[in-house]
Structure formats: C-alpha cells, structure tokens
C-alpha cells in the first residue's frame, strides 16, 4: 500500500522530568493498514498514542492527518478529526447499562432507543455480539472491551488506536477481535495496534514500528520477520528462556478443599468449591481472565479472608481460620497482583516495605520493637539478589518502575524461603527481561522443593513455568491437567468454562478411580 499516508508522525519528542519518553519519533500509517507499535513497558508507546489522541502535547515535532497539519489540543478534537482509541483500562460504569455507558461518551447522544438500535446494527455488522440493555457490571472483560470498541465505531473513525487489547481476553475472544479488526481494515479504517505480544502482531499486523527507550529502533513487516528477531529489536538483547531440570514432585503440602468465599463487593466474584492439591516442587499454573476470582483466591490463601479451618490445610494442619501473619510463620507467602497499595505501600521506603511481610520469618522485630538495622539489611539483600534497580533502600516504593518493584516484591517473599508461594500476575506490566528473571526465580524456588501457585492471565507464561494447569472461571476452578499435554485450544475451552469440558474431566476422574 503506497500513496498518501493517513497519519504521519514527524520527529516527535516528548520529555518528562528525568525521562525522555519519545525522542525524534517518526513513522507513517497508510489508510486501511494495521500498524503495530511494538515495545516494552516504558518504551514510550503510551506517551506516543496519547499525543495522537490529544491527551498529551509533544515538546517538538509535528503530525499530519490526511495531509493536513494535526495537533489536537484535547481528545474531543482528535475524535472529531476521526481518531478513536480503546484504552487498556476501561472507563465504564458498572451500574449503568451498555447503551447508557456509550451515550456518556458521546457529544450529542441520540435518544436511547435509536442508540440501542445503532449499537445492535454495528455490533452485528462487525461480529461483536452485545446487548445494549445489559448492565456493564454483569459483562465479562471481553464484552466490556466490545462496549469500548463499539463506542469508538459509532464515531466512524478513520484511525482506531488499540492499547494492549488482548491482555484481558481468552484465546477465542482474541480470534473474534482479530476478525473484527481485519474487517475494519478491509473497509479502509487504519488501526494502530499496541502490544508486546509478538505472535499476535505477526498474525494481525501489516507493518510494525518498534520502540525502545523512546526511540524508533526498527521497522519491519511482521509476517516476514520472526518473533525472535522482533524480540531482539524490542529488548535490545536476546533473552534466555527460563528453564529448570525435570522436577520430581513430592508429597502434597497444601490442600484446598471445598473453598467457597462470598465476594466483598457487589461486582466481585464468589469462589465456588475450589479444590487444589499442591505438591512439594510443583508449579501449579492457574489461568483465567481477570475478574474470575483471582483476587479472591489469593486473599483466601494469604489469610486476608478467613474460611472454615478445614478448607485449607498446610502439611495436614488446618489453617483456613488463620490470619496472614500466622500463615507466614507456617510458611505460606503471597505476592498479590496489585503492587502499589496491596503488595507494597506506595509512599513508604523499601526498608519499611521489607518489614511489611518479612517481620515474622526474618525476626525483624523484638517484643514489638522494630529492628530497623536488620530490616534495612534485608531490604538491601533483596535489592542485591534480585537486581532491583533503585538508588537505595530509602527510596519510596512508587518511585520504582513496575518491573523493579515487582522484582522487589517477589524477592522479598522468595528470600524468606517459603514452603508455599502464591503469586498473582507475577509479570503483569513488567518488562521482558525482568519477567524472565522473575520466572526463573519461581522455577528455582520450586526446584528447591517449595510449592508454587502462579495465578496469571498470560497463558504463554503459564505454559512456560507450570507443571500443572487449571483454569479459574467465574469463581470455579477446573480440574488440574498436566501442562505439557495441553493445546491452546483446550486451554481456551477451559478458560471459557465450557460445559463439555466438565463432563470430560469427570469421566477422566472416574476412569482413574
């Protein structure tokens, strides 16, 4: 495709205090092209698209849209020019229905009945089934994303920006989305597709611009380029794949049986009869789309939510009614998904954050008085052993990048030598090299005989690290299967909670029995 580009970015530079987010970035998007913007977290992808969408203004450089100078001072102007964006984090009101949510984002919303009709038309035309009358709170993450996409499509955009759209989708939902995006592109809508998932980009995109540390480091045609080549461009070095020797699984150390937990808020997910058996040396991967009970499961295992004693047993001791600190003493350690505000206190130093979970096992307090010297030494050890990039342990947690803070959080738990480690989304928003380090650390821990439960949305990650796999769907845990026997399709069905899978599983159990 040649001719006049739809959007051309010329020498854009944007600096924030202490960091240059974009430096001299240039590229073009042709009409009807699916263009990938590829880069690690912190490479400057978000800043760049925010400038295209009018949320941020560049320090220097220019843009042209359909041949005319384009400098949107605010998103409203960008939208009226024909640029629409689907954000990674949705901005929807759970207590309103689909049509009401869409009307909220429009300049002049038509009457509800007409709008509902248009929503149906557009959703059918693009193969994105969506009922305008349903409450958003009842929708899955994939359906919520459809609301955002249809909101954009109603504006009839010339350029649709999608920021990491597949991070919340099951493989099947990804297929549906790609189908829609291809259809849009065929009709002449350009798509700017932001991701760090290489296989997706190879499957979908026509062109790719690769960013690293705010600079364009390469352009390629993804179909003709291998994932390894793109990864090297993106990361700047080749990455070692985490690996470990074949593991011998030991005795069952953690047993969860009939665990049911009511959600603490109306839109939370209840856990229903979850059962887990974790053996020493095992890495159990629990997959599932966000919002299917992952947070609740972690809270029940960490002791933030207590349950009847017998529902959770550690080495045959019932612990369901024990609080977080008692469980830590017994050897169950956890790393929650939300780093800032849950795993760590944002405005406290790393020393203080080391005390957060390591007090019991590292004896950091003596009859109630904190031994700050020992706590500092422990924080320094975590920083050194896990290669946490920070000027020192006195820096506050929120000054660290996502990947570095995650290394600190995971390191803080692993260095306490847990019997069982439970981690939720260990590499979410973490750059590729830090993610590889974290996965290796998890495998090393299991190699030493600990049991590890990895809860993640990233299927590639789970396939890489876990011995066994189970899927969490609407608060129910599927049967556990050996990871190496799984195909992507089976996993997709497990994640979707397909009913025939249950039957199959039950048959398998009966056959074993």
């Amino acid at each position: 495709m040649t001719g006049d580009p739809l959007l051309s970015i010329n020498n854009i530079t944007k600096a924030y205090p202490g960091v240059v987010a974009n430096s001299d970035v240039s590229f073009q998007i042709q009409p009807g092209e699916v263009h990938a913007l590829l880069g690690e977290n912190g490479a400057g992808k978000s800043t760049l698209v925010k400038m295209i969408y009018g949320l941020v203004r560049p320090d220097s450089g220019s843009m042209t849209f359909r041949g005319e100078a384009y400098a949107p001072p605010e998103p409203r102007v960008a939208r009226s020019t024909g640029v629409a964006m689907v954000f990674q984090h949705f901005s929807l009101f759970e207590a309103l229905n689909v049509a009401e949510n869409i009307a909220l984002g429009m300049e002049n919303p038509p009457p509800q009945r007409d709008l509902a009709k248009r929503i149906r038309e557009v959703s059918e035309a693009y193969g994105l089934p969506l009922d305008p009358d349903r409450l958003v709170g009842d929708l899955s993450a994939g359906e919520r994303q459809r609301v955002e996409i249809i909101r954009c499509l109603l504006q009839d955009p010339k350029l649709l920006i999608m920021d990491e759209p597949t991070s919340v989708l099951t493989p099947q939902e990804v297929e549906i989305l790609f189908h829609t995006l291809r259809k849009l592109a065929a009709e002449g809508t350009s798509i700017l597709y932001i991701s760090h998932k290489l296989e997706e980009i190879r499957a979908l995109c026509d062109e790719a611009t690769i960013l690293r540390l705010g600079k364009v480091v390469g352009n390629c045609t993804p179909r003709d380029t291998s994932a390894a080549e793109m990864a090297e461009l993106m990361v700047g070095k080749s990455l070692a794949t985490p690996a470990r020797d074949n593991a011998e699984l030991g005795e069952v150390i953690l047993k969860v049986a009939g665990l049911s937990v009511e959600p603490s808020n109306p839109f939370g997910t209840p856990l229903r009869h979850v059962g887990i058996e974790l053996r020493a040396g095992e890495v159990l991967g629990i997959g599932g789309v966000a919002g299917n009970g992952q947070d609740e499961l972690l809270a029940a295992l960490s002791g933030e939510v207590t349950t009847p004693p017998g529902t959770i047993t550690l080495n045959k001791t019932p612990i369901g009614d024990k609080g977080p600190n008692e469980r830590r003493e017994m050897g169950i350690l956890c790393a929650p998904e939300e780093r800032l505000g849950h795993a760590a206190a944002p405005d406290m130093s790393l020393v203080e954050n080391a005390l957060l979970t390591a007090r019991q096992r590292k004896n950091l307090a003596d009859s109630g008085f904190v031994n700050w010297g020992a706590t500092r030494a422990y924080a320094e050890k975590v920083i050194a052993d896990f290669d946490v990039r920070t000027p020192g342990p006195d820096n506050v947690a929120r000054s660290l990048s996502g990947g570095n803070l995650q290394k600190f959080v995971i390191g803080r738990e692993i260095l306490q030598d847990p019997t069982v480690l439970v981690v939720n989304q260990p590499t979410w928003g973490v750059d590729a090299s830090a993610a590889a380090d974290i996965r290796q650390a998890i495998l090393d821990l299991a190699q030493k005989g600990a049991g590890v439960i990895v809860i993640s949305q990233d299927l590639d990650e789970l396939l890489e690290v876990s011995d066994n796999f189970a899927a969490l769907n609407e608060g129910r845990l599927s049967n556990v299967r050996t990871t190496r026997d799984l195909t992507m399709e089976t996993i997709g069905l497990m994640l979707g909670g397909a009913h025939d899978m249950h039957d199959l599983d039950e048959e398998a159990i009966h056959a074993e029995a």
Binding site: A71, G323, P336, L356, R359, R398
Partner: protein
C-alpha cells in the same frame, strides 16, 4: 502558565518548610485583615507573636500561660494524630475532654473530704477512662455497623456539653455554693489539686503528661510495630490487611488512645487551671487540637511546636483584643487562616510548581 507536577517522592525539605511558610502567609493575610479593620497590622502581629513572651509588663503573666494553654492542646493532638495517621478521624476530642473532666472530678468528689494521697492518681485513671469510654461509642458503632466516626464523634461533643451542663447544675453542684452552678473548686482541695509544679512557669502535671505523650508517640511511631501498622493502615489500607493488621482492632485502639488522652487533658484542666466543673468549662481545646495536629504534620515533635505556637496565638490574640480592640471573631479567623494556609501550601511537599509556556504542538 503555572502547572503542578507530582514529585517522584515527597520532598522532606518542603515538608519541614511548609509550616513556617504557612505561618508567614497567615501573618501577611492576617495583617491585611487587621488593616482593613482599621488597626495597625504590624502592631497587631507584634502583639500576637512577640508581646506575650517578651513584653516588659505582660510577659510575667502571659509567659506561664503559654504552657498552660499548650499542654492540653499537645496532649489531645498527640492522640488525634495517631488516629489521623491510621485514617481514623476522631473529631470529637472536645466531648472526650469534657467526659474525662467529669469522670475525674466525680471520682475525686465522691471521696470528699478524704485526704488520701491515692485520690489524685485515682482521678487521673478515672479521667482517662472517661474520655476512653466516650470514644468507644464511635469506635463500636463504626466496627459493628460501619457508621462514620467523624459524624458520630462530632455529634457526641454536643451530647457531652449537655451532660456537662447537667453535671454542673445537678449531681456535681457544690452543696456549699449557694445554689450557683458549678462544682467545688478542686484546685483548692489538697488531695485533688493539680498544682503549679514550678512557680512562675505554668508547669503542671498535665504538661508533664503532654511531654511524656510526645516522647511515647515518637517512639511508638518510629520504633514500634504498632506505629508502623498505624502508618501503614493510613497510607495503604489494603497493604495493611495483607500485613496482618486487623482494621477493626486498629480503629478501637486509635479512638481509645485519643479518647483517653483527651480525657486526661480534661482532668488536668479541671483539677488545675480551670479548678471546677462549670457550664462553660470547655473552651474548644478539643477542636483546636485538630489544627495543632495538622499544623505539626501529625509528627510528635511538630505537634509540640505547633501546640506552643497555637497557644501563643491564643494568648496574643487575647492581648490584641485587649490592647487594640480587635474583635474576637477576627482573632478566630486569624487562627483559622493558619490551618487554611497550611493545607494550601501542603501541596508543595508532594507537587512542584512549574512555570512553563504552552507546549508547542
């Protein structure tokens, strides 16, 4: 164009500098207000901040008043600050102060005219318990029924005031007082007196207690696990639960500590400077202590300094009313400005101001 930009970490220098800046800004804005009232602003500011300590004829009277006024403010503010740090908002210290005074005075007067040396220590315990019990009402309602402790504790102040009026005119009324409302004068009863310990300084047991509270709170917040948990719960409640902090236990503990300290302040006041339970016994220490707590950045040493400063503006304010006929509401507005400016300049410790031209698109 002026823009605010979030700092990567709160600036320590600004955190220390903002109270000073707030005082300076209050002086300027207050000066303008006094000028508009037709008073000489420089003279007014000098009378408020300087004369109470160094004026040749007033200072002898007003200098001891500094500790007398600062003592209860510091004692109450320390308790409040522990709660505020944990995100527990006790606004009703005034009520707990009243109930502490009534409980302590009732204990002492119940044994009248005994001269046992155990009476004053007993009154101290009763005073602390009185304030503690009053603060347990919002604590239990909050932990059991999720009521808002701000509203409950505040409204209980007005209940306590009614109770105070009924005590002064009813069960604590001085039988030898010719029917006037008000209790016996405790400061004139040897076994119940909270005396001036060092003559001419205003130092009494309440001020000793305030200093002990400052040191204890400092150690608690900096060295003890409980202080750590208090800070953690205030900054990141979810992380606190993850760290094994029981939020209900912390609410009860924080409200209880602030209630007990406010009750102690009430007891030392009624047995010392005030002398008796009267209808207008409370003069707003419980509310002013909220300002003191924030002015002192919820930090024990800061509260010590802020309490002294606040006491100074009280004494100086009275002096200014007396000498320049500045109306009392203007003095109160002046004190209010201090909190206002403190909160306003607070933004500088977490944000920095950038002067910048419009970005070139």
């Amino acid at each position: 164009m002026l823009r605010l930009e979030k700092r990567p970490a709160p600036s320590r220098a600004w955190t220390a500098a903002t109270p000073v800046l707030a005082v300076v800004l209050t002086m300027i804005a207050g000066g303008i207000m006094f000028a508009l009232l037709g008073k000489n602003p420089f003279e007014a500011i000098r009378i408020i901040f300087w004369d109470p300590l160094f004026h040749e004829s007033f200072a002898a009277y007003s200098r001891p008043q500094l500790l007398v006024k600062a003592g209860p403010l510091i004692l109450i503010a320390i308790g409040l600050a522990l709660g505020f740090r944990a995100g527990v908002w006790n606004i009703g210290a005034e009520g707990q102060y009243i109930m502490g005074a009534i409980a302590g005075a009732s204990f002492g007067l119940a044994f009248y005219p005994s001269e046992s040396p155990l009476i004053f220590p007993g009154m101290i315990i009763a005073g602390a318990l009185g304030g503690w019990a009053w603060s347990m009402i919002p604590a239990i309602l909050k932990t059991r029924f999720r009521t808002n402790e701000i509203l409950v504790s505040l409204l209980l102040v007005y209940v306590a005031e009614k109770f105070l009026a009924s005590a002064a005119t009813g069960f604590l009324r001085n039988p030898e007082g010719h029917g006037f409302p008000g209790s016996r004068n405790l400061s004139r009863i040897e076994s119940m007196n909270n005396p001036e310990l060092i003559s001419g300084t205003g130092m009494h047991w309440g001020i000793v207690a305030a200093f002990i509270a400052v040191i204890t709170a400092y150690v608690l917040l900096n060295k003890h696990v409980l202080g750590y948990q208090i800070k953690l719960a205030g900054q990141a409640p979810r992380a606190a639960r993850f760290a094994g902090v029981n939020p209900n236990r912390l609410i009860v503990l924080c409200l209880g500590m602030s209630g007990a300290l406010a009750g102690l302040a009430g007891l030392f006041e009624v047995s010392g400077p005030a002398g008796q339970i009267s209808i207008d016994f409370n003069v707003g220490y419980g509310f002013t202590a909220i300002i003191v707590a924030f002015l002192g950045r919820l930090h024990p040493i800061g509260i010590l300094l802020a309490g002294l400063l606040m006491a100074l503006t009280y004494i100086g304010g009275e002096l200014a009313q007396l000498m320049l006929q500045i109306p009392a509401p203007a003095i109160q507005a002046f004190q209010g400005m201090l909190l206002f400016f403190l909160l306003a300049v607070d933004v500088l410790s977490t944000y920095r101001i950038r002067f910048k031209k419009e970005g070139v698109a």
